[in-house]
Structures are given as structure tokens and as C-alpha cells.
């Protein structure tokens, strides 16, 4: 089987050569491989539904070869399309392998033709859309829109949460800490400090720092992380104040603390 070589100079008319050169020069002007294929398909001068996909594939591969000769770097998606078209071409030219379950060359070709027709249809639709009368160009809105004066009416709102917080605040007679979802799983250094100050009086012996994690913060990894960090920071602060001593037997070994007797 002789592979017809595209862009054979001796069979090309001047017009075709010019068109080919224009394509090469304009390679940056294409909006991707499908756009290039659509442009190439116009040289067939037929309805897109009757287009020869085989011929189109050859034109595209010829274009890519030409670009290589001219050392034009093609973007990866152009090369992907070239590989796919080469595959399509082999499917179209070789007799179908009955063992092969994939789609036939004709099915693939029909899909490519559909894609081209659809892209062309969307371009035509876009052109028709832009050709419509447009606001501010062909028709106009009221030049002196009359301001609508606004009459303000105030309504008051409160959520169930506000209500419950208010009640809890009164009944505990305490500075109520506002409920904040994102702090649910955060143990602060202040909390850790407060906790440790209360407990440190009993820490006469070396005790593992992890023993000071508050209850309920040890099982969930996220909670354990924040509680550990806060407790560690608090222990540094207490050490700085001279209230406790810190000890670590080895790198990454557990840290232990004890009360510093003064």
C-alpha cells in the first residue's frame, strides 16, 4: 500500500502552497488542534458532513511534519491529536481485525466529523449572537432612571442559638464564652496553662507530659495534636517561670516534667 504523501510539491498548485504556508505562519493563531482541523477541512470545499476524514488526517499529519521541518515547536495537544489521527488513519486503511473489540475506524471518523461540525455550528451560533441588536449599541435603556426612594423598615431577628446562649449565660452567671464552631477542637495554650497550674502542685515526681492531656482529647488525632502542642507550650512557659523542670532522655523520647521545689 502506497502512502500518499501530503504536500507533494510537484502536485501542489500555487494556491495550495500559499494556503499551506499561511497555515504554518499562523500556527500561533489556532485555538488548538480542532480549530486547525476545521481550517484544514475547508480546503476540501465540501459540506462538513461529507468530509473525507482520511484525507483530513493526512492533511493534519502533513502539517505537523511541515512544522517539524520548519522547526516550529508544536504544543503537546497538537502532537496528541497527530498521534490519534495516525491511529485513526491505520484503522481506516487496514482491514478490521475481528478480534479487536474497539470502535471501528468509521465510528471514530464519524465522531471526529461530528466534533468538527459541532465546533463549526457553535462558531456560527456565536457569530449570529454577536450580530444581534445589542444593548448600548442598537437599543438603549432609560437615560434618566428614577431612583426608587427606599423606605426603611427594621425587623429584629434572633436565632435559637442566641436564645440558648443568652439563657446559659444568665444561668451560669459567668462570662459566657461565645460559641465558636471552629474552636471546638482547639485546645489553647491559655487553657493548658490554666489546667497545668492547677495540677502541677501534685507533680512531685517525673511524670510524662502526655499524662497532662485533658480528658477526652487523647483519642481523636486532631484533638490530641492540638492538646499536645498546647500542653507542651504551657510546660515551656511554666519552666520559664521556674515552676517546673523538664526532662527528655533522648531525641524524640517522651518529655517528662516535675514540680520544681523552691
Amino acid at each position: 500500500m502506497s502512502d500518499p504523501t501530503p504536500f507533494e510539491s510537484d502536485t501542489q498548485s500555487v494556491g495550495e502552497r500559499l494556503a499551506a504556508e499561511a497555515l504554518i505562519v499562523d500556527v500561533d493563531g489556532f485555538e488548538g488542534p480542532l480549530d486547525l482541523l476545521l481550517t484544514l477541512s475547508r480546503t476540501q470545499k465540501v459540506d462538513l458532513r461529507k468530509i473525507s476524514v482520511l484525507q483530513l488526517a493526512e492533511q493534519y499529519l502533513g502539517f505537523v511534519n511541515q512544522a517539524k521541518v520548519l522547526r516550529i515547536e508544536l504544543a503537546a495537544d497538537y502532537l496528541v491529536m497527530a498521534a490519534w489521527l495516525a491511529f485513526l488513519k491505520s484503522r481506516l486503511l487496514l482491514p478490521p481485525d475481528p478480534a479487536d473489540e474497539g470502535p471501528t475506524g468509521e465510528e471514530l471518523a464519524a465522531h471526529l466529523a461530528f466534533q468538527l461540525e459541532r465546533l463549526q455550528a457553535m462558531r456560527d451560533a456565536a457569530a449570529r449572537l454577536m450580530a444581534r441588536d445589542q444593548k448600548g449599541r442598537d437599543f438603549f435603556v432609560r437615560g434618566i432612571p428614577e431612583d426608587v426612594t427606599r423606605v426603611r423598615r427594621v425587623t429584629y431577628s434572633a436565632t435559637l442559638l442566641d436564645l440558648m446562649q443568652a439563657y446559659a449565660r444568665i444561668r451560669t452567671r459567668d462570662e459566657f464564652r461565645p460559641y465558636a464552631m471552629d474552636r471546638d477542637h482547639i485546645f489553647t495554650m491559655e487553657q493548658a496553662l490554666e489546667r497545668m497550674r492547677g495540677l502541677i502542685g501534685y507533680a512531685g515526681d517525673w511524670t510524662d507530659l502526655s499524662a497532662y492531656l485533658p480528658e477526652g482529647w487523647g483519642s481523636d488525632p486532631a484533638r490530641r495534636r492540638t492538646a499536645t502542642a498546647a500542653t507542651f507550650a504551657a510546660s515551656l512557659e511554666l519552666a520559664k517561670q521556674g515552676r517546673i523542670e523538664l526532662r527528655q532522655t533522648d531525641t524524640f523520647a517522651p518529655i517528662a516534667i516535675r514540680r520544681k521545689d523552691t
Partner: protein, 214 residues
């Protein structure tokens, strides 16, 4: 040469008056400022008579929702004066209830029927008349039965409107303090001034009796 080329004629003869009226209408509608007759003439085809077109247009808009009004020596389309009320738009602004109001409301919801003295006892401060009035006006509370105690004080209860607003079936569906605590709505720090004692996680003990008095 009396005969003129019909094409020339169409070029130099003014459009029919109906057409001129349309033009004046469109120009007045779209212009940001009132337009003088001279400006109209400058924008309309040669030979047009905007002054006459204006007379027709003015008549056409008589009694309509908008009318052609003279503004100095220029013209504009304006809303008919009797329809000015349509140009008002009510906007509703939502504000948060004040702390005093929400606390008062909460106490009434949890303790209804509830007298003013009881509210003041629970809050520890006087309840202003305005706060109660505001809640009454919002129709979140209403008067309940008078208490059969000396002075026969009025009581307050929450309304159906209150239940609707807060998505409650009844005031009994309000979560108790235990549930508030479970939901993380209650801080467990001990009461200020309460003796800290010998502290292991003691927050289950503190204040319980006070919290769950009923």
C-alpha cells in the same frame, strides 16, 4: 427640472410625522439629560420638525403613567406625579436583638408564665419597659394570666409567633442546660470566686444544683 429622483427625494425629505414622533420618543427616553429642540433637530434627519413631533408625542402621553415634561427649554420623560408613590420601595433591615431583650426573652421562654420581678431576679438587673415593649411588639411574648399573689402581677408567656420564628413545636422543646452543655454551648469553667478546691476535672460537680433547680 421639477421632477426629482425618488431616491434623492427620500434622502432629502423628512420622514413622516409618525416616524419623527418615534424618534423624539426614543431620544427623550434614552438621553441622560433633558434634550432641547435644537439638540433633537441636530440628531434627527434633515428636514425633521421636532417641535411639531413633540406636540404629538405630548398629547399621546397625556394621562399615561409617564408624561413628556418641559424642563427649562428642554424636554424629558417623567413619571406622572400621581404615581410617585410607586417609586418608593420598602426595604427591611434586619437587626440583632439587644442582649437585654434576648436574655429577657430567654427567661420568659424557659420560665413562663413569668412576672417582671422574676425576670429581674434571674437577670440580676432591672428590666426596662422598652425591652418588654419591644418583645410585645414583635409578638414574641404576650400577657399571660395574672399571678394570684399580692399585687396580682401580670405574667408573660411566649407566643405561637415565637415558636414559629425559632422553629420550635413548643417551649418545652427548648434544650435544657445539660443539652446546652453537651452541645458545647456552655463553658465549663468554674464560677469566678468559687473555691477551686483540690481539682481534678471538677466541672461536673460545680453549680449543678443551681443549674438544674427545676
Amino acid at each position: 427640472m421639477n421632477e426629482r429622483d425618488p431616491r434623492e427625494k427620500s434622502l432629502f425629505e423628512a420622514p413622516p410625522m409618525g416616524e419623527q414622533e418615534r424618534m423624539v420618543e426614543a431620544i427623550l427616553f434614552a438621553s441622560a439629560d433633558p434634550v432641547s429642540v435644537a439638540d433633537l433637530a441636530a440628531r434627527m434627519p434633515h428636514g425633521a420638525d421636532p417641535a411639531e413631533a413633540l406636540v404629538h408625542l405630548r398629547k399621546r402621553y397625556e394621562g399615561r403613567g409617564v408624561h413628556v415634561a418641559r424642563v427649562g427649554d428642554a424636554w424629558a420623560i417623567r413619571t406622572a406625579p400621581d404615581l410617585g408613590f410607586l417609586m418608593q420601595k420598602e426595604t427591611t433591615e434586619t437587626r440583632k436583638l439587644s442582649r437585654a431583650a434576648i436574655e429577657t426573652l430567654a427567661i420568659i421562654a424557659y420560665h413562663q408564665p413569668c412576672t417582671r420581678a422574676e425576670i429581674e431576679e434571674i437577670r440580676g438587673v432591672a428590666v426596662s419597659r422598652g425591652t418588654v415593649d419591644q418583645l410585645l411588639e414583635l409578638e414574641w411574648i404576650r400577657f399571660g394570666r395574672r399571678r394570684m399573689t399580692p399585687g396580682r402581677p401580670v405574667t408573660y408567656v411566649v407566643t405561637q409567633g415565637f415558636l414559629d420564628h425559632f422553629g420550635l413545636e413548643s417551649a418545652r422543646d427548648l434544650p435544657g442546660l445539660k443539652e446546652l452543655r453537651a452541645a458545647g454551648l456552655l463553658d465549663n469553667r468554674p464560677l469566678p470566686g468559687a473555691s477551686l478546691g483540690g481539682e481534678e476535672e471538677s466541672d461536673d460537680q460545680i453549680g449543678q444544683s443551681e443549674l438544674f433547680e427545676d
